[in-house]
Symmetry: C2
Subunit: 385 residues, 2 copies
């Protein structure tokens, strides 16, 4: 077995569930948030800081790491964990999303994707086999199938064709890992399949059916948060999540805000990654118990209270809003560190709280309270949720 | 008494000495290096990281902090220590150097300096009294007199006129602190006088004589490292240091490289500040036991050894040169953090080693070994010292 997953409790009034995902580099308690470490670093932070926050798993990106520093270097380093000094689980994204969304031409064939590097315009060709091999060599705990990502709006015929190809690629990824002799601590990395199908329920159903038949150790919902209206995103999540096996981890890719996470957990999803906490952190926007705080705003110039009075993170215990605002105005790097740290702490604490409330059976109340609170924030004049 | 200073040992074969400087926020063992925290942060690092390295005192800059975030805010925060979450000693520079060296017009009169902000071009007027008051309000432990800084080469008549004005300003700064009722933990901040006089021995002598008569708790050597040849800088340091009282701390401002520090300690200087370790660290240049390492160089691309194999800092214990190089190439902020941290550790360890060797009476041998080692580095093809 690559990994093992046990759901220890599923609620009846929502689909929320708590689980335990065992990987070669340790256990992940679900629902779990996965901070993004695209280039072999979660931007601005050290692994020790992430561990202090309680981060269980981080995400690396095959596309970026393949281009720079390259597979050979990571392999020589002994894998991504050793290269970046992180000893907890790593999930690597296959790079499909990046190939299609970053600048540079790309050309898809049944065999694979020919694309230009966003760094230097050089031409590369990646196949499902090669992408799987790359992820295996990086020694990630959880790896993803190569998927074709088409832009929104998802025209039916194109979406169907692309989804069917993504499914065939998933099968090729699976064969690659089956044939691989590589093991980390006596187990192979777990290959998760990505369900595509755009905003078409029939296509999502077809994709899920095929991939479930192929029996992957985990399933991901891909192709969302790409510009579609939020209502449509939730519609797709609502009808696709029940198509994912109950006994396997369910991973919602690239989403979302704190509200998104609470809603998605309520629908029975287990894993989430998103750049929001770190990207907004570097820009000076903090997620707090009182809603978003845009620290550069003049209203905080003489505010000696913490970023979030209810928060126990290092930033909130030691620094004032006025000081953080000064650091941002003075373009000091410490500012980006401190708010990124706070935001990841906030996200991680939110997941912890949800796990606790699911175990206690009171998640539905938590969800109602949380949404009411954030809905009020949204209505307040200074919020920009 | 503002501060107390005891020299516990002075060597005979060099002028090197170890001392103990008691300030309101704690003891500084000298010789000591003072990392630069211009804008109320030592760039990229937290106070905890500085303390882990063993940093005893940091430097804040009155010019920068006066312009941004402004005296009122720092006063409201309860002083610079509380504002920036640093509880060890702080020395503030008076801002003279910045007023004269940063962009923007300035006009000096006997009363003070009219100048334009480098941030927004706004006009300001600072007098010796006002600069002293600003530093008192920031609650720094050691504060500096306002000095006029003229550009190199130091024309004799202009240098003499400027030095004499600097001395009169020092007297006015002294009166200001004498008249101030302000105290931190029952003591006033210690006002150090800055000896000017350019590259003219007679003028340095005149400046020192006058300032020693005025009896300050510490003396600084200013107006160096401003473009003069290194030989001339050492000539000035060599004849000026003995003019500074033996029973007072002697502070060499704005210098220097590791070799500079070893030479200056040998001449009997006690305190040093310099932007080099942090500025070069952010640019990816590390000071190591093997000389400078420019981490972006291709030669380190597959080098899995630490930045400095002889170093015990966090960076060297956990990361390889290849990883650090990757982070720099990928423009990741963690790179700047890790090399800044290493460089400050290197500087602090160097001071520690010197204190130890002075106590043991073997500093002269240490100095010879150190200089020989660095001289060899300089001759090696990859060094750029």
């Amino acid at each position: 077995m690559a990994i093992s997953f046990q759901v220890s409790k599923t609620l009846k009034d929502t689909q929320a569930r708590v689980g335990r995902l065992q990987t070669p580099h340790g256990v992940i308690r679900t629902p779990a948030f996965i901070p993004v470490g695209t280039q072999a670093t979660v931007k601005t932070l050290t692994p020790e800081e992430l561990k202090d926050i309680g981060v269980q798993i981080i995400l690396g990106n095959t596309y970026h790491l393949y281009l720079r520093p390259g597979e050979d270097l990571i392999k020589s380093a002994g894998g991504l964990h050793q290269f970046m000094h992180w000893d907890r689980p790593i999930l690597t994204d296959s790079g499909g999303y990046q190939i299609f969304s970053l600048e540079g031409l790309n050309k898809v064939s049944e065999e694979g994707i020919k694309f230009q590097s966003h760094l230097d315009g050089s031409t590369h060709f990646l196949t499902p086999e090669r992408v799987t091999q790359l992820q295996i060599e990086m020694k990630a705990d959880i790896i993803m199938t190569l998927d074709e990502c088409i832009p929104y709006p998802f025209e039916y015929k194109q979406t169907k064709k692309s989804m069917e190809r993504t499914n065939r690629w998933a099968e090729r990824c699976k064969k690659t890992i089956q044939n691989s002799k590589f093991k980390i601590q006596n187990s192979k990395p777990a290959l998760f399949a990505i369900i595509q199908g755009g905003t078409h329920q029939a296509l999502r159903k077809e994709a899920a059916k095929k991939l479930v038949e192929l029996d992957f150790p985990g399933y991901a919902l891909g192709g969302l948060s790409v510009g579609e209206p939020k209502e449509i995103m939730w519609e797709v999540i609502s009808y696709t999540t029940p198509l994912m096996p109950e006994n396997k981890p369910r991973y919602l890719m690239g989403t979302g805000t704190p509200v998104d996470l609470v809603l998605a957990v309520g629908l029975g999803l287990d894993m989430f990654d998103c750049i929001l906490p770190t990207r907004l952190g570097r820009a000076g926007t903090a997620f707090t118990s009182q809603g978003k705080v845009v620290i550069k705003n003049a209203e905080y110039s003489k505010d000696f209270t913490p970023l979030d009075p209810e928060c126990s993170c290092y930033t909130c215990k030691n620094y004032s809003r006025a000081y953080l605002r000064h650091l941002f105005k003075a373009e000091e790097i410490l500012a980006q560190r401190l708010v990124s740290l706070h935001n990841l702490y906030f996200y991680n604490k939110l997941m912890e709280d949800m796990r606790k409330r699911i175990k206690e059976g009171s998640f539905n109340q938590f969800k109602k309270d949380f949404l009411r609170k954030w809905e009020n924030q949204r209505r307040s004049p200074n919020a920009e949720l």
